[in-house]
């Protein structure tokens, strides 16, 4: 019984990582005032880039870095339209998602079914010797460990440093930020890029570690779940980790039930669970926040900045 609990906990961690990276990336972008609905597209492009680059360079880390770079560059497309051209950010983000799905499908055909290098789980000595905790948290793939640092660092950066304050100022009140000499455009471009890079990292995690290989639309909506988790987390990286783990747990529970042959719940309902669960959680959170009159979204989210001449 205890091993089952540990197994579920391990899978929970593993299946929450892609969403976690993408969510934290989107938190950065949205905190600066840019709503990027292209996460799904950037993840897919990242996943394909990671797989293809790893194959040609025979290096997992080159693949991972390439995925982050490509994700970031794709985010800059949205950034150019949203920040410089000031177009409707919802349509631009959707266009990026469609473009990403199409492009990754188009360029990814030759890679379907290929096997390449992958990140194998390994014990992070000496932490993996801790009973239970070590087994759950510290026998994972190399792309999982950076997340343990990223979550607290992102929190500290956002809420405890001067740069984080500037970032939030740009998202809350760009005119005021501009007045005190912060470049709204540069800030927004920078964090849109970082958001895309983290979505790309999430994609790399999918194709190099979680489900090694390339398949068209392999992210299966995780980019959208990340966007939902940003609202759930109220634009806070620590809460985002909680949300991602919750999502991972639902996934792990589903895998466990299927593997153990538990037929109490039909398998198709189990597969729907992560999506239904996300919708339910979003409804509860939105309702609860509306009741407390605290929505928590950056004030200037989705609104282009135009300096008054």
């Amino acid at each position: 019984m205890e091993s089952a609990v540990i197994l579920i906990a391990k899978i929970t961690i593993a299946s929450s990582m892609a969403v976690l990276y993408a969510t934290i990336g989107e938190i950065f972008a949205e905190r600066s005032g840019v709503l990027n609905l292209g996460v799904e597209g950037m993840m897919l492009i990242g996943a394909l880039t990671a797989f293809a680059t790893t194959e040609s360079f025979q290096s997992l880390w080159v693949g991972t870095l390439a995925a982050m770079l490509t994700g970031g560059v794709f985010a800059l497309i949205h950034g150019f339209f949203a920040i410089t051209l000031r177009v409707n950010q919802v349509v631009s983000g959707l266009a990026l998602t469609l473009f990403g799905i199409g492009l990754s499908d188009f360029l990814g055909r030759p890679f379907i079914g290929k096997v390449s290098l992958k990140f194998e789980p390994f014990g992070l000595f000496p932490l993996d010797k801790i009973p239970v905790v070590g087994q759950v948290f510290f026998i994972q793939s190399a792309l999982v460990y950076p997340a343990y640092l990223l979550v607290p660092l992102a929190y500290i950066f956002l809420f405890k440093t001067r740069y984080g304050l500037q970032l939030r100022a740009v998202g809350e009140n760009p005119s005021a930020a501009d007045t005190v000499g912060i470049s709204v455009f540069a800030t927004r471009y920078l964090y849109t890029f970082i958001g895309g890079a983290l979505a790309g990292l999430g994609g790399a995690y999918l194709s190099l570690s979680y489900t090694p290989g390339w398949k068209e639309q392999m992210s299966g909506g995780q980019g959208w779940i990340a966007i939902a988790l940003v609202i759930f987390a109220m634009w806070d990286p620590l809460k985002a980790a909680g949300g991602a783990l919750l999502f991972g747990f639902i996934n792990a529970f589903q895998f466990y039930c299927q593997a153990a042959g538990l037929t109490v719940i039909p398998s198709y309902i189990l597969r729907m669970l992560p999506y239904l669960f996300t919708i339910g959680v979003l409804a509860v959170i939105t309702h609860w926040k509306a009741a407390k009159k605290r929505v928590g979204a950056p004030e200037a989210l989705g609104i282009p900045f135009e300096r008054e001449q």
């Binding site: 609905l37 497309i77 339209f81 410089t84 051209l85 000031r86 177009v87 409707n88 919802v90 349509v91 631009s92 959707l94 266009a95 990026l96 469609l98 473009f99 990403g100 799905i101 199409g102 492009l103 499908d105 188009f106 360029l107 055909r109 068209e216 299966g220 909506g221 959208w224 779940i225 966007i227 939902a228 609202i231 039909p266 198709y268 597969r271 729907m272 999506y275 239904l276 996300t278 919708i279 979003l282 409804a283 939105t286 309702h287 509306a290």
Partner: protein
């Protein structure tokens, strides 16, 4: 030197008619780079695409066949868009419409008088899609939950349910493992015209476009929808019931996508199978925004993108280039139109010297 945007004193009117053609040209140029990347002569690829889409009467009829679900999905997204509601869930509503309509055909058609079978299927398809659209609608209207995310996530749920049905309880026992339901009974097949695959669905799509146009242009309710979309505060001030309007619009929007589902099932496939969820709902988003949410333009854009998709299939067959090229081109066209629109109201402004 600084380059920025400056608002034009007067919007650039003449460019309105050039916007879409110019955007398509830009997108085709991007596509040409992709063709070069995969080692295919772009001129040859585009010629093949044109031949595939417009080379003969039959080919063009295939374009109209592909355009049929796009018209309905585009209207679905467009109607909600008029109220600034983002229905990204047309794909799922289409699937549920297909399930509901073919459920009627498979299990109830023997109890229905023959002339009423197809109307009953259409009603079921519409209602199925409407119910699926009402879920994000209710969440939005009652709890203020972001409809973009909920409607999108419900797509995955709908597709999983569809797979469950044709792999499981609705699977054709005589199908020898083919994943799909049994064929629909003869009386449930939509009539086809002129020896092509053009079917009743095209008329339904055109009729729906006319109805939505009439609704938005001439009816009080359509006016309310436009006011809510244009200025929410003004609508509140005029005592327009926003909650009720969200629910009705999401129901009809879902219903239109649902019609697309049953039309595809009963007009083309004649059974529920994997080919139902091929992304028409997502293309509907592109259609609606390229058509600027106007029903007439949505019909034209649907035919255009239908041509792109048929052309994409053609290059897959003859040049072995993945047909996903049409999705790439759609995304690129949408970006170009978005960017181009800005230059109607703004102009490039170059400032010399440091500020």
């Amino acid at each position: 030197m600084r380059v920025g945007l400056k608002k034009r004193l007067r919007p650039l009117n003449w460019s309105r008619y050039l916007l879409i053609p110019a955007s398509i040209l830009m997108a085709l140029f991007l596509g040409a780079l992709l063709f070069l990347y995969v080692g295919v002569n772009p001129t040859r690829a585009y010629l093949e695409m044109c031949k595939g889409a417009f080379g003969s009467f039959y080919n063009f009829s295939e374009v109209l066949v592909r355009a049929t679900p796009l018209i309905l999905c585009g209207l679905s997204v467009g109607l909600a868009g008029k109220m600034l509601i983002w229905n990204i869930g047309a794909e799922g509503q289409l699937v549920i419409g297909g399930i509901a309509g073919s459920g009627v055909a498979l299990f109830l058609s023997s109890h229905i008088p023959p002339p009423l079978v197809i109307p009953a299927m259409l009603a079921a398809g519409f209602l199925g899609g409407a119910c699926w659209g009402l879920i994000p609608g209710l969440l939005k209207a009652r709890l203020h939950v972001n409809e973009i995310i909920t409607s999108l996530l419900l797509n995955y749920v709908a597709i999983m349910w569809l797979e469950h049905l044709y792999f499981g309880p609705w699977r054709d026992p005589a199908g020898r493992g083919f994943p799909g339901t049994a064929m629909l009974p003869d009386g449930a097949w939509f009539p086809r015209f002129w020896g092509t695959r053009i079917h009743l669905g095209l008329l339904i799509g055109l009729g729906a476009a006319a109805l939505i146009w009439f609704l938005l242009s001439y009816m009080r309710w359509g006016y309310e929808i436009r006011v809510i979309g244009a200025n929410l505060q003004a609508a509140r001030y005029a005592r327009i019931n926003i909650t009720r309007n969200i629910l009705w619009v999401m129901a009809i929007s879902g219903g239109l996508a649902g019609l697309a589902g049953i039309c595809e099932t009963a007009g083309i496939h004649y059974r529920l199978q994997q080919g139902l969820a091929v992304g028409n709902g997502y293309v509907g988003i592109v259609v609606a925004w390229l058509g600027k949410l106007r029903p007439g333009a949505i019909v034209l854009i649907s035919i255009l993108l239908g041509g792109l998709m048929v052309g994409g299939d053609q290059v897959q067959i003859t040049l072995h280039v993945p047909s996903a090229i049409s999705l790439v081109l759609q995304g690129a066209i949408l970006f170009c139109v978005l960017g181009g629109q800005i230059f109607q109201e703004y102009e490039l402004h170059v400032q010399h010297g440091k500020r």
